[in-house]
């Protein structure tokens, strides 16, 4: 039998080590989860290829130039909102958040780890989607840093919304709700269908959705049609502040 030295030698690991370990575990969990991959990679790739090739859209100019930015925004939505909400909801339901709260990893450490994991997965998604889009003949313009800033703002807004949902609803309700919201925002938020395809009367409502702000902002930069998309950035910033504050206020750990 193995002998173990059980004599007390307590101590927390350095914060960076704890956050890295937890973030790594979350990235692995996401990449291993089939449903998550469906939402984060397979559906975005199918939409990118399908709407770029098939003549459904009349957007003026190469279809891939319109579709690629929308699909990049969808990738951010799928990871920061849908994936995070579902994973965190079930972590809460199975007492994982409670158990982690009893380790030296603080709640701040856990949130840093979740954020890091979301960013790592997004970077992987963006790399894959950009390669597919380039293979489809995409010619992006604009400043990549502006796109990165919009992605960060979008990530903050969607993370806030996802955590708000995961921390207040039952896990099953979060599962259903997060998937429904994904589908609705995919359909309504200018991802592959331009917002101009919807009736004039509901357009102002669609334009203040975070997904619409992200798709429009990223699209205007990458198609090189305008300057800095201040309106989109402000909409995303507002969602981020409101959603993160609401999540901080109402999130229940158990």
């Amino acid at each position: 039998m193995t002998t173990l030295d059980l004599s007390p030698a307590p101590g927390a690991a350095p914060l960076a080590q704890m956050v890295l370990a937890q973030a790594g575990a979350e990235v692995r969990a996401t990449l291993r989860n089939g449903e998550q991959l469906l939402l984060t990679l397979i559906i975005p790739i199918l939409l990118l290829v399908g709407f770029s090739k098939a003549p459904f859209l009349d957007v003026g100019g190469p279809r891939v130039d319109f579709v690629a930015p929308g699909v990049l925004a969808l990738a951010v939505l799928s990871t920061a909102f849908t994936g995070q909400a579902i994973a965190t909801g079930f972590e809460r339901r199975y007492g994982v958040l409670k158990r982690l709260g009893a380790t030296p990893l603080s709640r701040t450490g856990l949130m840093l780890a979740k954020t890091a994991a979301v960013i790592v997965v997004e970077v992987l998604q963006i790399v894959v989607l950009v390669l597919v889009a380039l293979a489809l003949g995409w010619s992006p313009h604009g400043n990549p840093l502006t796109v990165a800033l919009l992605v960060v703002l979008g990530t903050a807004a969607f993370s806030g919304l996802g955590l708000l949902m995961a921390g207040t609803l039952r896990a099953e309700a979060t599962l259903a709700g997060a998937n429904l919201v994904y589908l609705l925002l995919l359909a309504l938020g200018g991802v592959v269908l331009p917002v101009s395809a919807f009736p004039e009367s509901i357009r102002p409502l669609l334009e203040i959705l975070p997904i619409t702000a992200l798709t429009d902002g990223v699209r205007s930069v990458l198609t090189g049609v305008g300057g800095f998309p201040m309106g989109a950035a402000l909409v995303l910033l507002s969602w981020a502040v409101l959603a993160l504050a609401a999540a901080a206020r109402w999130f229940r750990w158990e």
Binding site: M1, T2, L4, D5, L6, S7, P8, A9, P10, G11, A12, A13, Q17, M18, A21, Q22, A25, R28, A29, R32, N33, F90, E91, Y94, G95, V96, K98, R99, G101, A102, T103, P104, L105, S106, E254
Partner: protein
């Protein structure tokens, strides 16, 4: 109070109209194994979870290793095993334990610990596919991997098969030998009797008895036997030394308490012989913790 691992005074916890913990005092000494016993709903888990920092109290004071339960400095120093769950369903056993080890400065080697608890063959098995007993053992492993000073184990052997239960008991004994304080809740009286230095019996949110297992069960021994129901116990008592007691509970099961020595045994068997009573399963036993527990908390189901 340097020597207290846990010091709870006048603790009160209410859930709406229900008072789960009712002015409870609890003291667990350092380096000892303290068993907290009580029927379901007695307030065991509420008390332990307040000590662990998972719940807040309504009033009273709680110090764990001299600190308030929500003190961040406490987390690295205590190890916790929940009654159930706490692990992502898809996480593999070995990866989960390795993850928890990465939160600590001087952890045990995860693979040695898996080996020690018989989980090596299941290191790559997702948590949801482990048996209940394997899940419990993984919970125990995660509680001790950070080499804590104090370990809280909430029903650590619930649902374990005998081999796994003994492995868990060995681990608790080793923790104690290594100077770790252990606080455990259990429904298994034999577990409390075998493992603990100090037993605290809780009922309806209060401590109803505490002491070492020997103190609680007393030095008194009992003579037990089975025979036909309805023996006249007054007759046998008149032949026994004063201070002896006899009862039939349940029908056909007799218990004689008092100075249980060879002469008492001889008196009882001689009386049975003259009455033509055949006795079965005659034995001399110490009162068990279970007897004490049932006397204190009653036999009715809750």
């Amino acid at each position: 109070m340097e020597d207290a691992a846990v010091e709870v005074r006048d603790l009160v916890k209410r859930y709406g109209p229900v008072t789960a913990v009712d002015h409870l005092d609890l003291r667990c000494r350092r380096g000892e194994v303290t068993a907290v016993l009580g029927p379901n709903g007695a307030g065991k888990t509420s008390t332990i979870e307040i000590c662990e920092g998972f719940r807040t109290s309504d009033s009273g004071s709680v110090r764990v290793l001299g600190l308030a339960p929500d003190d961040p400095g406490l987390k690295p120093r205590i190890g916790i095993m929940l009654q159930s769950g706490g692990v992502p369903q898809a996480a593999r056993a070995g990866e989960w334990l390795k993850l928890v080890s990465r939160f600590h400065a001087h952890p045990l080697d995860p693979s040695a610990l898996l080996d020690r608890l018989g989980l090596t063959d299941h290191a790559r098995t997702p948590y949801r596919r482990l048996s209940g007993g394997q899940q419990q053992r993984l919970g125990l492993a995660a509680a001790v991997i950070g080499r804590p000073e104090l370990v809280f184990l909430d029903e650590p052997t619930a649902g374990l098969d005998p081999q796994a239960r003994h492995a868990c008991w060995d681990m608790i004994r080793e923790l104690r030998a290594a100077g770790v304080s252990v606080v455990l809740t259990t429904h298994h009286m034999d577990e409390a009797e075998k493992l603990s230095d100090h037993v605290v019996i809780i009922d309806r949110g209060r401590v109803v008895a505490e002491g070492s297992p020997a103190e609680l069960t007393g030095a008194e021994r009992q003579l037990r036997f089975r025979a036909r129901p309805g023996l006249n116990l007054d007759e046998v008592l008149s032949a026994l030394p004063p201070g002896s007691a006899a009862k039939e509970s349940p029908a056909g099961h007799y218990i004689i308490e008092g100075q249980v020595d060879p002469s008492l045994l001889a008196t009882v068997t001689a009386w049975c012989a003259t009455e033509g009573v055949t006795t079965e399963d005659l034995s001399i036993e110490r009162r068990t913790l279970e007897d004490v527990f049932l006397e204190l908390t009653g036999r009715e189901l809750r």
